[in-house]
């Protein structure tokens, strides 16, 4: 025992500088996260491959055989699969656009009220209610829309058709001279979809607004900004990418929504912007749900081709959102 008390610290710090064995937990966690990340890519690739392979027979059919075997493609009316997909893409985008136009300003308003205007107690309660709304299944929204909302909206539609019918959007049916009398029109589908996507957009934007740095809010207030000016100066610029992200989440849900549209909309195929007439529009998802139960193998292939179209739209929307977010990243609040 020649070592004295003072030498002990030297002994304790004698950790070798050479590579040491990695701990099990470290390895395990690294492995789990790698597998999870890969799984996402594999799933995406699998879905894309499935869509392409299954849709291939329908997409490459040139002999007219497909039209003969799928009863909802009517060559005598000049229809081909590509044309029908075109109509449905139009209907999907139109109805989702209506939903987004209604839902985005409302959601941002609600989120802003919760984050910056409401007294704290009310804000907490309201936030909770919004989260509850997000939990309602879409089939319930569909039922509610078809039974409760449509009759309420109908008089309003009549008024729009009578007074603002000269606007192409609200044009009445040229044959009857009135708008649809059932309310089963694109605008109704858009409104119910809007109500469905408000919770998700609100929840995300609220979180973003709440994270606005107090520093920036105070900077605006200290130079004489009103509350609204402070919001425009500090809260919106900071939350810009978050708002876009939230909107895209909502759009994603609206694009893919099946049941609510299926239960509300009177389906049809056209490139018409008349959102108060029934039987003119349908969405891809609702159309797949409508046609799938009675489809033969060629029909399924044609429906999967439509699914592929929806997949491509969603992909494009997300890429667009990414691009918008990154466009002015130099000026973003992240630094």
């Amino acid at each position: 025992m020649t070592t004295t008390e003072e030498h002990k610290p030297f002994e304790a710090s004698a950790v070798p500088l050479t590579a040491h064995k990695e701990s099990v937990a470290n390895k395990l966690f690294g492995g789990v996260s790698l597998v999870s990340a890969s799984l996402i890519l594999v799933t995406l690739a699998a879905v894309a491959t499935f869509l392409l392979v299954e849709a291939w027979p329908a997409l490459t059919d040139t002999s007219g055989e497909l039209a003969a075997k799928v009863d909802w493609i009517r060559p005598e009316m000049g229809q081909s699969l590509i044309q029908i997909v075109g109509y449905l893409v139009f209907g999907t985008v139109l109805i989702s656009a209506i939903a987004l136009l209604i839902a985005t300003p409302l959601s941002i308003g609600i989120a802003l009220f919760i984050s910056h205007y409401a007294p704290r107690k009310l804000a907490a309660g309201l936030g909770y209610v919004i989260d509850l709304l997000a939990a309602i299944p879409s089939v319930v929204y569909g039922l509610w829309g078809a039974i409760v909302v449509l009759p309420v909206l109908q008089p309003f539609y009549n008024w729009l058709g009578d007074n603002l019918g000269w606007i192409p959007l609200f044009a009445p049916d040229p044959l009857t001279g009135t708008v649809s009398n059932t309310g089963r029109v694109a605008l109704s589908a858009g409104i119910v979809l809007a109500i469905m996507i408000i919770p998700i957009i609100t929840a995300v934007t609220r979180e973003v607004f709440l994270q606005t740095p107090v520093l920036h809010e105070e900077a605006a207030l200290a130079m004489g900004a009103t509350r609204w000016e402070m919001v425009r100066m500090a809260v919106f610029p900071f939350g810009r990418s978050g708002m876009i992200g939230a909107t895209m989440l909502g759009l994603g849900r609206a694009l893919g929504e099946t049941m609510a549209v299926y239960m509300i909309l009177s389906p049809g195929l056209s490139y018409s912007f008349a959102i108060l007439q029934g039987g003119l529009h349908n969405t891809i998802a609702a159309n797949i749900a409508l046609k799938f139960p009675e489809a033969n193998s060629e029909g399924v292939s044609a429906l999967i081709a439509m699914g592929l179209a929806l997949f491509v739209i969603t992909l494009l929307v997300n890429m667009l959102a990414r691009w918008i977010v990154s466009r002015r990243s130099e000026f973003s609040g992240a630094n």
Binding site: M223, G224, A225, E229, P237, F331
Partner: protein
């Protein structure tokens, strides 16, 4: 135009908690007044009552009066938003708006309340304000770059430029150098000496040397203990305060015996 401030029997509350008790003091125009004291003594809280920024915190309220050239900032017909246009503020951490360019940052306050400004006036104001903040030469070639691309000291001077662009009467500074390096600190201290020719300046600082360097008059705030309200102990010419303070507590604080 520089204005004087008279504070009479001011109490500040956070809900029911009395944070600052019975402060009466006078701030002369065209001078730098420093508020010093240990952490939690209420000097920042008091500073914020001079432009009603404390009202941003829920539950905060004051009793008493703050007179700016004789006009009570807490009179019923006074709009806090208008008060802040006359009493500018610079914060502890530089806070330029990250989404705005350097020039936009300077003009941010001018464009509030539907304020419009012609392009040539705007350019003149940007240059004048940045010159006033001793920043023009460093940024004149990159006015369209984001404000956050500047160094900390430059950002703080950008915030000062932003504050003087709205031509306030009084400038409040809440520990403006505490996040800066010594050279940037010196730049801001020099700037204060120039700014006091046009503005009344009130600065909160933790750094007693800084108070001794920049302030014409110094006020010492103290707190008796946790949960007790902050109080103004004494206020005097800076030279007197640092050589022959009349209160024992001031002498202890200044000589570094506590705080």
């Amino acid at each position: 135009m520089s204005k004087r401030i008279d504070v009479n029997n001011l109490n500040v509350y956070y809900s029911k908690f009395l944070a600052v008790e019975d402060v009466s003091l006078a701030v002369e125009p065209n001078s730098v007044t420093a508020l010093i004291g240990p952490s939690g003594c209420g000097k920042s809280t008091f500073l914020r009552t001079l432009n009603r920024m404390h009202e941003v915190i829920p539950g905060a309220r004051v009793e008493g009066e703050v007179l700016m050239d004789g006009e009570n900032l807490y009179a019923k017909n006074i709009d806090p938003v208008a008060v802040r246009k006359h009493v500018g503020m610079v914060f502890q951490r530089p806070n330029p708006f990250p989404t705005m360019s350097i020039a936009e940052n300077v003009l941010a306050g001018v464009k509030l309340n539907n304020g419009r400004i012609s392009k040539s006036d705007a350019e003149g104001l940007v240059e004048g304000s940045l010159r006033g903040a001793n920043l023009w030469n460093e940024v004149k070639d990159r006015l369209d770059k984001p404000g956050s691309s500047l160094s900390g000291g430059q950002q703080q001077r950008l915030c000062i430029a932003r504050a003087i662009a709205i031509k306030p009467d009084v400038m409040l500074m809440d520990e403006p150098c505490s996040a800066l390096d010594p050279i940037s600190t010196l730049a801001i201290e020099d700037l204060m000496q120039e700014l006091k020719n046009e503005y009344t300046i009130v600065i909160v600082t933790h750094n007693m040397q800084q108070a001794a360097r920049v302030a014409d008059r110094t006020a010492f705030f103290n707190i008796a203990g946790t949960g007790q309200p902050g109080k103004l102990i004494e206020m005097n010419d800076t030279a007197t305060m640092f050589s022959t303070p009349s209160e024992k507590a001031t002498e202890d604080y200044i000589s570094g015996r506590f705080g």
